[in-house]
């Protein structure tokens, strides 16, 4: 299984439910690092150009089963891992990942995939130096998502699990189960839990402070540049 890495780079992952505020926090962290002149790279879940078409088609035409859903996301991840994350870690970058393998662990297990099988899929992945978990009460993250966006997509709402007959109720049950999976991982995976109800700038100050303690940031400055 995954071991602690020996690369000169550092990897920071952010995890949490949709609407937990993690993307805002990782964006602000990236801005802060860039303004300090650090070598930083940002990567997002489900964004590989290579696999995008297959994922899009599968989702649109509802062709995906729990197993193929899991595999297309693992393929997407592997592509980004092999072509971006790993080379950048070896080149001494700070890599920021908006969602990482834990997202797959939570979602795929909720969808009924064998936990051992899912974990093995990702056993090639570099283990993050820091994994933040933005812990927002379920009701709050649901409200943030459901008030801002009227229509939920089929898989996003977990409609494939037959939890409820409408997207809205299904999403609530699905997110609740994912939240429970995340909570189970906090200790074994060593998540740094962030209080997601605090004001954005308060959370960001805590994130920055924690990162500073864990990572020798000045050593990641661009060389040969003022």
């Amino acid at each position: 299984m995954n071991k602690t890495h020996n690369h000169p780079g550092r990897l920071i992952a952010v995890e949490g439910l949709d609407g937990s505020g993690k993307s805002t926090q990782v964006y602000l962290l990236k801005r802060w690092m860039e303004m300090q002149g650090l070598k930083v790279f940002f990567t997002e879940w489900n964004s590989s150009v290579l696999v995008k078409e297959a994922t899009r088609k599968g989702k649109k035409r509802q062709l995906l089963t729990p197993t193929t859903f899991s595999l297309v996301h693992a393929t997407d991840f592997a592509d980004r891992h092999e072509r971006q994350i790993l080379p950048l870690m070896r080149a001494g970058y700070i890599v920021l990942a908006d969602r990482y393998m834990y997202t797959a662990f939570a979602r795929d297990i909720v969808r009924g995939c064998d936990p051992r099988w899912v974990r093995n899929l990702y056993s090639f992945a570099v283990v993050p130096d820091i994994a933040f978990f933005f812990d927002t009460p379920l009701a709050v993250s649901l409200d943030r998502i459901l008030s801002g966006r009227p229509s939920l997509k089929y898989f996003e709402a977990g409609m494939d699990l037959n939890l409820a007959d409408n997207e809205y109720d299904s999403f609530k049950i699905f997110q609740g189960r994912i939240y429970a999976e995340y909570k189970k991982m906090v200790e074994p995976e060593g998540f740094m839990v962030m209080e997601g109800m605090l004001p954005v700038e308060k959370q960001q100050a805590m994130v920055r402070k924690y990162v500073e303690q864990k990572i020798d940031l000045p050593s990641f400055r661009w060389r040969g540049r003022q």
Partner: protein, 236 residues
């Protein structure tokens, strides 16, 4: 009324969500072998023979899924896939056919003829340096076939047949991406030998039947037919 006993299907360690093994009444017959080993010819002949006997048949093979076949082909043309990504892409293609073609066909009592199965995929990954335990777990969702036939053809004969068919060697079947040699002919010979060695190792582990593929199609078909007949006569 007495229930008819029949062989129950197994998986390689991981049960697919929602799959009920006891419902799978059909037979899964796998043909493995390199390009030019005569697999497709033999599959066609078996299909004709089985349909003539009144069996329903379904064909599956690599890169034939609705979900990712086109995308996989496109990605391979661009030669931009790293090893793990390619493994997972093929695994996705396999899983899609497993769940949407193989399992429904077996449930309906068909004979599924697989033109290659997980063994080729595992051999390719292992030869390219993938962790064997990782590959095994990845494909642990597969169903154990009722029979696996490996058409073994010497690399020399394979080269001849490939040239007769295409006048060129395939980039992938020559394992050019592995960097074994910049020379395509040399790479083909080396790569195919590695794959064959991997199949010999797997034969010991999975116990599939090796068929001498250096013979005429008719002779091979006669042998396969006899062996498939045995599988079909097992209580079903």
């Amino acid at each position: 009324m007495k229930a008819t006993p029949r062989s129950i299907k197994h998986h390689f360690g991981t049960l697919l969500p929602g799959c009920k093994l006891a419902e799978l009444k059909g037979k899964l017959i796998v043909l493995e072998g390199a390009d030019g080993s005569g697999r497709s010819t033999q599959i066609d002949m078996l299909k004709d023979w089985l349909e003539n006997l009144g069996y329903g048949t379904v064909n599956v093979g690599l890169k034939r899924s609705t979900l990712v076949a086109e995308e996989l082909e496109a990605a391979q043309q661009g030669n931009i896939l790293s090893h793990t990504t390619r493994s997972l892409f093929y695994a996705t293609d396999f899983a899609d056919q497993l769940e949407n073609t193989i399992i429904p066909a077996l449930r309906a009592g068909f004979v599924v003829l697989a033109d290659r199965y997980i063994y080729t995929l595992m051999a390719r990954d292992t030869v390219r340096g993938a962790n064997p335990a990782w590959v095994k777990s990845l494909y642990s969702i597969a169903l154990v076939p009722d029979a696996v036939f490996y058409l073994r053809v010497s690399p020399q004969v394979l080269v001849e047949r490939n040239f007769r068919k295409n006048a060129t060697l395939s980039y992938w079947e020559s394992g050019m991406d592995t960097g074994m040699s910049r020379d395509m002919f040399e790479s083909f010979m080396k790569y195919q030998r590695h794959i064959q060695a991997e199949f010999r190792r797997m034969q010991a582990e999975y116990g599939f039947t090796i068929i001498n593929g250096n013979r005429k199609p008719r002779a091979i078909h006669a042998e396969l037919r006899a062996k498939v007949q045995e599988v079909l006569s097992q209580s079903s």
